[in-house]
């Protein structure tokens, strides 16, 4: 048990042998995402934001230069200008929008399913000792499986349609939600529950007024991890026999050595990841306004 417990206590769950989510998800949402404050340049001629954008802009310019001079052939990597043009073409033709819609649908359905399963399991194990004894071992055991490695099985079980892709997203999402819900509930200050009892709150009222609000910050951290994993699962899932969606767009482009379209697809994935992460952070700021003193605005 002790090993399992220590695994739960750590907020960032190591799900499978995956690379970290494609987003800079800080272990604790309550801390700032910006790196430790570097000593500000004396005199500060450039505003901080501008100063930080110097190196990325230079990298893009260098990339463009390499492409234009032929040092970087387009069959390896298209020039930024070509990527931009192709991106615009894909938007205008409606191809990108269509692919986006298909992929979004997969992620949303998978996310909702995984959320429902993860939350249900987390609540059952968090709120009940029996639930923990019966359910936690099996969830922990499943968690150790590299879930992306299940794709062959999923294809055998679900065929090659939408189902295996959605199932993959749902499975990936389930574990971080489960772990953070469970840890959040078990981390509730017992003294607050006691105080609520002296106020005459019954068991279910204590869950509603004390336990769940106290667990919410942890659950939201879980949600941010889950989103990162959802996009990652989608990308992997869409590599397999997709006939629509962003993954299909990218795979199809590979066939024709269209590195510009591949890059567009990757950029869209990244933008989607960033957008959903920002959405959860907004949700955090709203739902956790009571922690306002800890959340840098």
């Amino acid at each position: 048990m002790s090993t399992l417990d220590s695994g739960i206590a750590a907020p960032p769950p190591a799900v499978g042998q995956l690379a970290p989510p494609p987003l800079p998800t800080a272990p604790s949402s309550s801390t700032s995402d910006s790196p430790p404050a570097a000593p500000r340049a004396r005199g500060g001629r450039l505003p901080r934001g501008l100063a930080r954008s110097v190196s990325p802009v230079a990298a893009v310019l260098l990339w463009q230069l390499a492409s234009s001079t032929g040092v970087l052939p387009a069959r390896l990597l298209a020039a930024p200008s070509t990527v931009l043009r192709s991106g615009w073409e894909l938007i205008r033709s409606g191809q990108l929008g269509e692919a986006l819609l298909v992929s979004l649908q997969r992620v949303v359905v998978g996310l909702v399913l995984g959320l429902a399963i993860g939350l249900t399991l987390g609540l059952l194990t968090g709120l009940s000792r029996w639930g923990e004894l019966l359910l936690d071992p099996i969830v922990q055991a499943l968690r150790t499986l590299p879930f992306l490695g299940l794709i062959p099985l999923f294809i055998l079980w679900f065929g090659i349609g939408e189902t295996p892709k959605i199932a993959l997203v749902a499975l990936g999402v389930t574990f971080p939600i489960y772990l953070n819900t469970f840890a959040g509930i078990r981390g509730v200050d017992a003294r607050l529950i006691e105080a609520a009892a002296t106020l005459g709150l019954g068991r279910s009222q204590r869950w509603v007024h004390v336990v769940l609000p106290a667990a919410l910050p942890s659950i939201l951290v879980g949600l941010r991890y889950a989103l990162g994993i959802a996009w990652l699962s989608l990308i992997v899932g869409e590599q397999v026999n997709a006939t629509a969606g962003l993954g299909y767009l990218i795979n199809d482009a590979r066939e024709f050595l269209r590195t510009d379209v591949v890059v567009v697809g990757l950029l869209v994935y990244a933008a989607l990841g960033l957008a959903t992460d920002a959405a959860v952070r907004l949700l955090e700021r709203r739902a956790l306004a009571w922690r306002q003193s800890f959340v840098p605005s």
Partner: protein, 272 residues
């Protein structure tokens, strides 16, 4: 205001090894059979509580009269807080006979406000009233926090939070108010202000108060009666018959202080 049997505690592990005084056997008597109508009173008989091998309460007897301010004095680890938790209904493992009024409120050493509810919502939480919000506002006005009703608890100072906790306890119109060293974490100036506030609230509402403290001067400044807990029982029971507001430098005060410090086993050389 009718007194009600809230908890009868019977046979836990290790109970009945020795019978409490006044009891023929180790078994608890059903309080419902013995209780007379005695509104607002607390009656404790043969209360026992052990943590492992350590017996903290060894057959304790205690009566509290309605409307009286009683301080419970004891050294650290003497079982003061354990007794308070039993009276608050928070300790199911204690054995013995306990009767408390129906409405019991607790203010803990820490304010224990729910940080995700605004101050007024904290005060109104679990309140059985047609208009809990209005009642909460009244209670907050009484403790001087009217303006902070919409604040988040984490933005309050220690004194403000403790006053909010007092409002939360008093809004329930308790017949018994349990105070578990609620002034311990406050600075000296804030503590004096809150002492006055607690006295004023007590005079207005007249609940029976049990104040747990280890501070002899605090007990003497506030209470009508001081009971000393030592060896798991009430070791001394002192009526404080001094006029209010109390003069901490007066002779009566000094004599009582001397007696209580002796009860607590404090060496008195150089003190008076």
């Amino acid at each position: 205001m009718a007194a009600e049997l809230r908890s009868v505690l019977t046979g836990g592990s290790g109970a009945g090894a020795t019978a409490g005084p006044g009891h023929g056997s180790g078994e608890s008597v059903r309080a419902g059979l013995t209780a007379e109508p005695d509104p607002g009173a607390v009656r404790v008989r043969g209360l026992r509580r052990a943590f492992g091998d350590r017996t903290v309460l060894a057959g304790l007897d205690l009566d509290l009269e309605p409307g009286r301010f009683v301080a419970l004095l004891g050294r650290s680890g003497s079982g003061k807080s354990t007794l308070l938790r039993v009276l608050a209904g928070l300790d199911p493992a204690a054995t013995g006979q306990v009767r408390t009024p129906r409405r019991v409120s607790v203010a803990f050493q820490e304010p224990r406000l729910l940080p995700w509810k605004r101050v007024a919502a904290n005060v109104a939480l679990g309140l059985d009233d047609p208009d809990p919000a209005a009642r909460a506002q009244e209670a907050l006005a009484e403790v001087g926090l009217w303006e902070l009703a919409d604040a988040w608890p984490l933005t309050l100072s220690g004194g403000e939070a403790q006053r909010a906790a007092l409002a939360r306890a008093l809004v329930r119109r308790p017949d018994l108010l349990l105070l578990d060293e609620p002034f311990g974490a406050l600075d000296a100036l804030t503590r004096i202000t809150i002492h006055d506030l607690v006295l004023a609230l007590w005079i207005t509402h007249r609940p029976a108060v049990l104040l747990v403290t280890h501070d002899v001067d605090e007990a003497l400044a506030l209470a009508d009666r001081v009971v000393v807990l030592a060896g798991g029982r009430i070791a001394d029971d002192v009526t404080v018959d001094l006029p209010r507001p109390r003069d901490r430098t007066g002779t009566g005060f000094g004599q009582l202080r001397h007696r209580l410090l002796t009860d607590l086993g404090v060496p008195l050389a150089g003190r008076h």
